[in-house]
């Protein structure tokens, strides 16, 4: 190949996946093994000392997982990536690499409910303190910055739906204050939005959703943009200080613009352990090969269904940025002109009770707590994913009592509309 960077469709199929050196296998083999034989004692020492590239033990790295890592790094335009057991594990290892006890990070209020729980509760045990800001008002991020702020976190398209975040505005604030900007790109996938092009420094994914795309494998990915210079920055000792675990090596210096991804692996994944199974990596890789095709169909289908629901008599509002009338439509045109994704919310005039009835009346939509499946999915966040939040938090997160979330799949849209019609009639 020439040195010109291949296009997105080509990368989705080929990046990271050369034929197997030992057998010539063309599909990526599932290296279902815990461990790898060393060439000799010196080679083992080099691997443990981070002096050579190679495989030791599948908690730290695995060749099937590595193909997934390079694939996602290439699609996002990052320098390196790390595959982990779930999207939550991706967030955990990212923050573990950046924060010390007593530190703060700023997060958008509109997030996946699971992330809100993780930040509000689990992270408190580590002394990592979340400070909430309003992604509709980028200046609220700047107002929340203190000397303890170590990171800023947003979702590019926010769950449970319909919110496009002005990434460039928040990135400018992060850059001005020299704070790493983390973007969860799960809902958009790199097909719709490429956050590194808008100033992100780190991207996290729940690969469970659109990357895998078939609702069969939980996984997560951290992508290093290579844009934040951690070396020599005392605020980030995992990257800038000599590490006693590795004979005094300074990871941010030794690994340059992919030091963050390496630190997440050799300090986070190695010691905390949320490794991805090679089998899951294989299934997610298969999913990614069709990501561009699926993501376009997801978005096209979602727009068709959203347009239908917007004119339905039992529905008070639809929040989908693909709709011309939507408050985020201009941001959608700027950040994701190909489409606004598969997931959106709408409000039922009948409130909480109508929401509960609707999900039980649907026959084609599956009532479950996931998004980004080939199948269309429905959930009533107030009674499920966002149940543990206070009423105020629910409303702030876009998950009030009357709200229903859909993740539109790849079926025929007429069948989806028929199912919604019959369920709304009966609700």
């Amino acid at each position: 190949m020439s040195d010109r960077l291949p296009g997105f469709n080509t990368l989705a199929i080929h990046a990271g996946a050369a034929p197997d050196a030992a057998t010539g296998a063309r599909a990526t083999p599932i290296y279902q093994t815990t461990s790898f034989v060393f060439d000799d004692v010196d080679h083992a020492a080099s691997l443990f000392g981070l002096q050579a590239f190679g495989n030791i033990y599948s908690r730290i790295g695995n060749p099937t997982c590595a193909v997934l890592e390079e694939r996602v790094a290439a699609l996002e335009g990052g320098t390196a990536a790390l595959a982990v057991a779930s999207g939550h594990a991706a967030e955990f290892l990212t923050f573990h690499t950046l924060l010390q006890p007593g530190d703060e990070f700023i997060a958008a209020k509109k997030l996946y409910g699971g992330s809100i729980n993780q930040f509000n509760h689990a992270y408190k045990n580590f002394g990592w303190n979340v400070v909430w800001a309003d992604s509709d008002d980028p200046s609220s991020f700047e107002a929340a910055i203190t000397p303890k702020t170590k990171a800023i976190f947003v979702e590019s398209i926010a769950n449970p739906g319909g919110v496009i975040v002005d990434l460039q505005a928040i990135a400018a604030i992060a850059k001005k204050h020299r704070i790493p900007f983390i973007v969860d790109n799960t809902m958009a996938s790199p097909y719709l939005i490429k956050p590194f092009e808008h100033g992100a420094d780190i991207i996290v994914h729940s690969a469970t959703k659109f990357l895998g795309g078939h609702g069969n494998s939980v996984g997560g990915v951290i992508v290093d943009g290579g844009t934040f210079n951690f070396a020599g920055d005392d605020r980030y000792p995992m990257l800038s200080k000599p590490r006693p675990e590795y004979g005094g090596m300074v990871l941010g210096e030794t690994f340059g613009n992919f030091g963050f991804a390496i630190a997440c692996r050799v300090l986070g994944l190695r010691d905390l352990g949320p490794a991805l199974s090679p089998f899951n990596a294989f299934l997610i890789l298969n999913g990614i090969e069709t990501l561009p095709l699926r993501m376009q169909r997801h978005s096209d289908n979602a727009l068709t269904v959203a347009e239908h629901l917007a004119s339905h008599s039992k529905i008070s509002w639809v929040s989908y940025p693909g709709l011309r009338s939507d408050r985020y439509h201009n941001l959608a045109k700027q950040y994701c002109p190909k489409g606004a994704g598969a997931v959106f919310t709408f409000g039922l005039k009948g409130g909480y009770e109508a929401g509960v009835k609707l999900v039980s009346n649907l026959k084609l939509f599956s009532h479950l707590a996931n998004i980004g499946d080939t199948r269309s999915l429905v959930i009533h966040p107030a009674s499920t994913t966002h149940r543990q939040l206070t009423d105020e938090q629910k409303t702030q997160a876009g998950a009030g009592p009357e709200v229903v979330r859909l993740s539109i799949g790849l079926e025929d849209t007429q069948d989806l509309i028929d199912d919604l019609n019959q369920a709304l009639d009966a609700a």
């Binding site: 080929h14 050369a18 000392g49 050579a52 590239f53 790295g61 590595a66 390079e70 320098t79």
Partner: protein, 188 residues
């Protein structure tokens, strides 16, 4: 049957030092044998020690240069105080010092007889004035790159670490013959 000949170093007089073609780097790494490592360290946590070890394991004859360590052994190799003390011809001078120091080191390299074929400045090291002098004398120049990363990228080894190699290929990586976890620079 297609027989691939060893790749000669292509002569490119005005190299764009922001973006090197893969074939340019591969040509250099496939042809040089003796590499003088200026700024070699005896501390295994330092990048220069790691790169020295990695290149020795890939079959290069790496000669450490460091006046403070002259006469000692580093990874089994004798350390010399300066380039002019090295008793054998040098194919490539690798500058593991800062950008400013790359100037006088380049002058020393260009005073050697025979001249080295390649001047390589480590990742984060760039000195365009020195590069121009070296190119005027016919040397190939690489700046702001790490030979270990470039070897890992072109061979496919770096992909095991989830690093974006920016390479895609339908050709197999080839084992180097020195173990299962070492790949060569060529694909088949």
């Amino acid at each position: 049957m297609l027989i691939e000949l060893p790749c000669p170093i292509p002569y490119v007089p005005f190299m764009n030092h922001d973006n090197y073609p893969n074939d340019y780097i591969r040509g250099i790494l496939n042809s040089v044998k003796t590499i003088a490592m200026v700024g070699a360290s005896q501390n295994p946590a330092r990048p220069s020690w790691i790169v020295t070890k990695y290149l020795l394991e890939r079959g290069y004859d790496v000669i450490p240069i460091n006046p403070g360590l002259a006469g000692t052994e580093l990874l089994g190799k004798t350390v010399y105080a300066s380039l002019k003390d090295v008793p054998v011809p040098i194919d490539m001078v690798e500058v593991f010092r800062n950008s400013e120091a790359a100037g006088p080191i380049t002058d020393e390299a260009l005073a050697l007889d025979p001249l080295p074929k390649v001047l390589w400045m480590q990742l984060s090291v760039r000195n365009d004035e020195a590069a121009a002098k070296a190119e005027a004398k016919g040397l190939q120049v690489v700046m702001d790159r790490c030979p270990k990363i470039e070897f890992g990228r072109l061979s496919g080894e770096i992909s095991w670490q989830g690093v974006n190699s920016r390479m895609i290929s339908s050709k197999k990586p080839v084992l180097s013959g020195k173990g299962f976890q070492k790949l060569s620079l060529n694909r088949s």
